[in-house]
């Protein structure tokens, strides 16, 4: 492959040229039990995508990291009416996709299938969400796979660098909780923990069903109303909680030792922005300049000009209450120092030299031009609507995207750079051979050493 840089976080944009790009029409309704329903008809292909999204995630794990995402995965283990084998067979036989996933603030169940199969598969999706069995034997198997998965993830630094970074930035607050948990926390989880989590958070007034694809809205609305009519919330609704802010009171380095590493994987940055921040759209453009495309400053310097790495990028990873900014790359062990120095020097151009008007115009054209293919399929659109539900984003952010991008001037770009890109007390995670890079790490802040083979993503309690 030529490169690995991709502007994966560009959730919204519009296409270059004059034509508007607006979110296709969709209908939002709320059932009497509080369930939000989004319906978007599209008839380009005979496929229907269904996304169930629950407003909960690892931030709700408390002292049981991994519980939320385990619960999400466990909805695939069968319902009180159908076994896991029945469900797997029903979906697999029809060539349907079925997947569950979880992150810090949302838990999802996704499916897509041929239009003709809606009548057979949609009731099963409803059962999995409303009345999962959490079968003990199946849950034990899933838990065991998750445990091994946690060990295997650490074989590849790129899989875990973000977990260390979030742990470092958010300390003891809910946003620091590793989404997949730790070996100790996953081992301790029991069936009743999963059942309890499901009861607390999987409730109609805390969830949405998004259906996008080849159907008639009136028919689908009736089908959803019928399938989810008996879903009832019990007990008080979950309360909004404070999930924490980035702690960057001093420059810090977490040096994660991986003795057999042949390269150093790194991430550098600090606090970012929330998903519904009013500056979200223009910051996507600024990040495109910094590290969001192939000709970004970071990729240009670290890859193209110096050949130090195969790819360098940056991103504002947004959450509902806040977010983080991070520069990430990797380099051969002997190049660690030059790569870190160059990354920081390049980052400082933002303040030292600022963004040239022509560069800004190019980035604006780029984010607009790359937008429409992000919402080409029914699954992509279902995912967008689900994100909008969880992060309280209105359709105006999508529909006004082009206007907001076009409105970005060099002066405003400068002001936004000053305001949002973390400049002081940078936080750094280095995963590599500690014996070789220890002296380099010390130059960038207070060093804490970790062992990649130790459980979890933070320093081991003494």
């Amino acid at each position: 492959m030529k490169m690995i840089v991709s502007a994966g976080l560009l959730a919204v944009a519009a296409h270059a040229g004059a034509a508007e790009f607006r979110l296709p029409a969709f209908e939002t309704t709320k059932l009497p039990n509080g369930l939000t329903v989004y319906l978007m008809e599209r008839h380009e292909a005979p496929i229907i995508a269904v996304r169930t999204v629950v407003k909960a995630g690892s931030v709700n794990d408390g002292s049981q990291p991994g519980l939320a995402t385990l619960t999400a995965d466990a909805t695939l283990l069968g319902s009180t009416q159908h076994s896991k084998a029945d469900i797997d067979k029903a979906f697999d036989f029809r060539g349907a996709m079925l997947a569950a996933s979880g992150s810090a603030e949302q838990l999802t169940l996704d499916a897509d299938f041929a239009r003709e199969d809606a009548a057979e598969l949609m009731p099963l999706l409803a059962e999995m969400v409303v009345s999962p069995s959490f079968d003990a034997a199946e849950l034990a198997k899933l838990q065991k796979r998750r445990l091994i998965g946690l060990s295997q993830a650490k074989e590849a630094p790129r899989n875990v660098v973000k977990a260390y970074y979030n742990s470092m930035l958010f300390g003891s607050s809910p946003y620091a909780i590793p989404e997949r948990g730790t070996i100790a926390s996953m081992t301790a989880l029991r069936q009743q923990d999963v059942q309890g989590f499901h009861q607390r958070y999987y409730r109609p007034d805390n969830a949405a069903i998004v259906v996008v694809g080849d159907f008639k809205t009136a028919d689908m609305k009736a089908r959803i109303a019928s399938l989810y009519a008996n879903w009832r919330a019990t007990g008080p609704a979950p309360k909004t909680q404070d999930n924490g802010k980035v702690n960057a009171d001093k420059a810090r380095v977490w040096l994660v030792n991986k003795p057999d590493a042949i390269e150093t994987t790194f991430m550098i940055g600090g606090p970012g922005i929330a998903r519904n921040d009013p500056d979200y759209v223009p910051l996507q453009v600024l990040n495109t300049v910094m590290g969001g495309r192939f000709t970004s400053w970071l990729n240009d310097e670290l890859r193209v000009n110096s050949g130090l790495t195969y790819g360098a990028r940056s991103e504002f990873a947004t959450l509902s209450q806040t977010g983080v900014f991070g520069i990430s790359s990797f380099t051969a062990l002997p190049n660690t120092k030059p790569a870190l120095e160059l990354a920081l020097k390049t980052y400082n151009r933002l303040w030292d030299k600022g963004i040239h008007a022509a560069t800004l115009e190019s980035a604006k054209a780029y984010v607009k031009g790359q937008y429409p293919p992000r919402f080409e399929t029914s699954s992509q659109l279902a995912s967008l609507l689900g994100d909008m539900f969880v992060s309280n984003v209105g359709r105006e952010q999508i529909d006004n995207f082009m206007r907001d991008v076009d409105a970005l001037t060099p002066a405003r770009a400068k002001a936004l750079a000053e305001r949002h890109f973390p400049r002081k007390n940078l936080q750094m995670v280095l995963i590599g051979k500690a014996d070789a890079i220890r002296p380099i790490a010390a130059a960038y802040g207070e060093v804490t050493e970790l062992d990649i083979n130790a459980d979890g993503f933070g320093p081991v309690a003494k």
Binding site: G17, A19, F93, Y310, A365, Y366, G369
Partner: protein, 438 residues
Amino acid sequence: MKWKVLAASIMLGAASLAQAAVSADARSFTLPNGMKFIVLESRAIPNANMYTFWKVGSRNEQPGTTGLSHFFEHMMFNGSKKYGPKMFDSTLEAKGGSNNAYTSNDVTVYQDWFPAASLETVFALESDRIGHLSIDPKLVESERGVVLSERSTGLENSNIRLLSQEVSGVAFQAHPYSWPVIGHESDIKAWTQDDLVSFFKTYYAPNNAVAVIVGDVKFDEVKRLATRYFAAIPKRALPPKVRTVEPPQTGERRLFVTKASATSPNLMVAYKTPQANHPDYYALEVLQSILAEGKTSRLYQALVEQQLATSVGASGSDGFDPGLFAVYAVAADQVTPARLEQALLAEVARVSKDGVTEEELQKVKNQKLVNLYRQLETINGKAQNIGWYETFFGDYRKLDEVPANFKKLTRADIQAVAAKYLVKSQRTVGVLAAKEPE
């Protein structure tokens, strides 16, 4: 459950979709210099893409120049006559476009994604580098570092990639499929300027490429611009054919890879199978899915559900020359490579011995067709499929035959290919783990 009725409805849907999307709408033309263009107008989004398939990959290399086709994929972005170093990317991005490229054993494919209004810019950029690439020695040096980093990060972060590379090296003793597409480290460090110049002249002739343009464009306009920008690039002699034929394998081969950070053993079993355009291709595709696609697949049921493995997978042979059909698994906790291998081979043998069920076969046919839906839902999926069928099957219209080719397969066909190809003498067994067993 009404399996059969549903299956029928799925099949009709996919067939009609494929025809509507490709044969009815796609049109092609060939310039006098032999460069072929296939155009599919598609108006769902105001964007378009251009995929250029070049018939050059690692199979066209020799010892000493391994990895050169992939390296060239990088060099094609490093400057040409009108657009100097870095200008390809900066020009395209300023017009709202982006690009990427990939290299396989058989082909190198360049992909441009852009607002449809930027088509002419894309043609100007592509034609300039095809016709007038400049190969600057300074840029060659920095790009070497990039490729070495790409190579090392792949080996650092992917056990399967490392194992797969070693398995191919043992499975093929003569044919160029034996070396990794990215090349050997020593070769990456050693390519000369002459190697690069000669490689470009040999393989980047317009008559060795097919370009696919899909999106919100008009056929006549594409033809007009293609003529304007590409017609002047001279036709050249076609590249030399790959002469080496892999000699028949005469017995099982085995290998072990040590990687200290591996937390559990990885197993790969690869069988020799024919090239993509062989009549057995579709039956082998189905066999691959029966073994490893989805939670009801044979290997998932026998290995993952039985807690012998945490994941399973399979990959098929789809090149110009006979290749490998590989199945792989990552061991669960406390499961030895030998036990995992025994269970995996038992499942493979069961297909040859007892065949597959009618329901299993129908399931995979359904999966193949819904997957085709999904692929043809995007302009990228359309371009990739059109280019792939044109390159490996000689005609993009063969894409329309896909539903029928799957539909006609019988249980006996699947059992026959399993019995013919998935045999001990044709397999290479590779294990990757932290320590070699004593």
